[in-house]
């Protein structure tokens, strides 16, 4: 349909959106040239993880919650163990166990970001239906993406025990610390990955981006030691928020919307917020190491980045940061005397938040004196970002109302993929419907 049909209802629907994780649908209804309704409907069935954790031992959380997601299991493990350690009065904010956790997390960032940049998002920018078609015309590009992802996989395998749903994480640290030789064996691959990541930033910087600026409140962690936000920190925002993780529920709420199986997050004052790469970069650009910071500057990212379509550049910059940090952590690595510290249960409440590749992931647990879980709360980034994604869609549709249905659908799907939603995490996710009045 075209702009000449102004004044009529226009509906565009996609029943199942590709290249996002999980099952969801999008519905957009246009009334003349105005966007009347936008719904991101997550219809994948709820999985009830919070309920099934009740009654389990506090030591089981990293292994149970890792199963929520195959691409960001480390985020679940890290948020959960930090929450349990806080409940038990243990802080592992620095030292070799923290370094090893950060190294594992770098593996997840590399793996997840490479997957999203190359396999899920790049086909949108280059005009291919999928990665295989893209790979047919650009084999070197595809190989680079796969090799980057494989470097992340390798790091996950060596530190985490396996690349999907790692099994080496425990409350208090790790079951086994890798040897120096095991980690050093990854150096060549990671150094090549760092080069690939550098090339990736240059490549994505040259893509074409729709001109969209979103004025949403950006929320990320701030690392107290000045590191780029990954594994711990206070919650800060572009709106001036600066609170400990334990204050999450005072500042944010989750609410049910009738058309979705995932809860939607919002600021307690009613505002919409966004977590993830744009938020991290905008709030912590100065924490990037020189290589990543210079690459970002060369790519045209200075100060803030509020164009969701440019999240692909930020992901590339973060991949470079993760590769650079991983190399440095391995070069400095000395195996700890013990891979874990004892964590004795006590009755209490603990909170943990870390930065999953697609945004902040918050966990809260209440346990009794024997460490049995009484209550669990898990707030994944896709739930938190759902409202911001709907508002993005509204802005994108309004800016592209003259497009025909197929082109509009494509740009809408791309707008959703800007946020690398993980519907499986939010309870899983996508179908797209656009109606025009």
């Amino acid at each position: 349909m075209t702009a000449s049909q102004t004044g009529k209802t226009r509906t565009i629907r996609t029943d199942y959106l590709a290249r996002v994780e999980g099952e969801g649908a999008m519905y957009i209804r246009l009334d003349g040239d105005g966007v009347a309704e936008v719904r991101l409907r997550i219809y994948e069935p709820p999985r009830f993880f919070e309920a099934l954790l009740r009654g389990r031992s506090f030591t089981e959380v990293p292994d149970i919650t890792a199963r929520i997601c195959g691409i960001c299991p480390v985020a679940y493990q890290m948020s959960s163990v930090r929450a349990m350690e806080q409940a038990c009065g243990v802080a592992l904010d620095q030292g070799p166990i923290r370094d090893l956790r950060r190294l594992l997390y770098c593996g997840e960032w590399i793996e997840s970001h490479a997957l999203h940049i190359y396999l899920l998002h790049a086909p949108d920018f280059l005009g291919y239906p999928g990665f295989v078609e893209l790979a047919g015309d650009h084999p070197e590009l595809a190989q680079r993406g796969l090799q980057l992802k494989q470097a992340g996989n390798a790091l996950m395998r060596v530190v985490g025990g396996r690349e999907i749903h790692p099994i080496n994480v425990r409350v208090g640290g790790f079951y086994r610390a890798p040897t120096r030789a095991e980690l050093r064996g990854l150096l060549d691959q990671l150094e090549r990955a760092r080069e690939h990541a550098r090339e990736t930033v240059r490549w994505v910087a040259g893509l074409e981006f729709p001109e969209v600026e979103r004025d949403v409140e950006l929320v990320a962690l701030r690392d107290p030691g000045g590191a780029y936000p990954i594994d711990l920190g206070r919650i800060i925002s572009t709106g001036g928020l600066d609170v400990p993780v334990a204050a999450f529920d005072e500042e944010f709420v989750e609410e049910h919307v009738e058309y979705s199986n995932a809860l939607q997050g919002r600021l307690r004052n009613g505002g919409t917020y966004l977590t993830g790469p744009l938020a991290r970069f905008t709030l912590a650009r100065e924490s990037l190491w020189p290589l990543a910071r210079e690459a970002a500057t060369e790519a045209g990212l200075t100060g803030t980045c509020r164009n969701p379509f440019k999240s692909i550049i930020v992901r590339a910059v973060e991949t470079l940061q993760a590769c650079d940090e991983a190399v440095a952590l391995i070069e400095a690595y000395e195996p700890p005397d013990r891979a874990w510290v004892e964590v004795a249960p006590r009755a209490g409440v603990g909170h943990g938040a870390t930065e999953a590749p697609r945004g902040m992931l918050y966990h809260r647990y209440e346990i009794d004196e024997r460490g049995s879980i009484l209550a669990a709360q898990i707030v994944p980034p896709t739930s938190q970002n759902q409202r911001a994604v709907e508002e993005d869609l509204r802005a994108v549709v309004q800016a592209h109302v003259e497009l025909g249905d197929d082109e509009l659908r494509a740009v809408c799907e791309q707008a959703i993929r800007n946020h690398d939603p993980c519907i499986s995490c939010a309870t899983h996710f996508l179908e797209l419907t656009v109606e025009r009045d």
Binding site: A18, R19, V20, E21, G22, C69, G70, I71, S112, L115, L119, L120, P123, G130, F131, V132, E133, A135, G136, P139, A142, Q143, L146, K149, Q150, N153, E163, I164, C422, S424
Partner: protein, 155 residues
């Protein structure tokens, strides 16, 4: 190379892994030097595994609508499996059919790649093997052994 794929926590989905293990036990008698791998089936990991590989036999479970327990044969060297490229990055995993197509366009597909699959019935988390697949496993392994012999004689 033999690659058994699947997830043993999902009933019949683990049939490829079970078949690979049984085939591994039979290998010494056949005197065929052959690597046997067990794999989740995650696509980019398969591409990594296939780098430099010779003739490859992939053992998996399938859901095609055939009667449960049926052993199916696909010659991936000569064309795409059903589903083909569509499964590449539809979510956060690359399916086997898509991994094969990706390997093909990137010239990473082993020179001869045969997929043998047993039609499954139960794939839910926590399921046991269905009677049809449990009963058909020996036939599946026998077929795999014959396929291996054919691959070795050609390679």
């Amino acid at each position: 190379m033999i690659v058994g794929l699947g997830n043993e926590l999902r009933g019949d989905d683990g049939a490829g892994l079970l078949a690979a293990r049984r085939l591994r036990e039979r290998l010494p008698a056949s005197r065929r030097p052959c690597e046997v791998h067990e794999h989740t089936g995650e696509g980019d990991g398969l591409l990594e595994l296939w780098q430099g590989a010779g003739a490859t036999l992939v053992l998996d479970a399938a859901r095609t609508g055939a009667p449960p327990g049926t052993v199916l044969r696909f010659d991936a060297s000569s064309g795409p499996l059903a589903g083909g490229a569509r499964g590449a990055g539809t979510g956060h995993a690359i399916a086997l059919a898509a991994a094969i197509e990706l390997a093909r366009v990137l010239a990473l597909l082993p020179p001869r790649t045969i997929v043998l699959a047993i039609e499954g019935e139960r794939f839910a988390l926590g399921d046991a093997l269905s009677p049809a697949v449990a009963g058909g496993l020996d036939r599946f392994v026998d077929a795999a052994e014959r396929e291996l012999a054919a691959l070795c004689s050609r390679h």
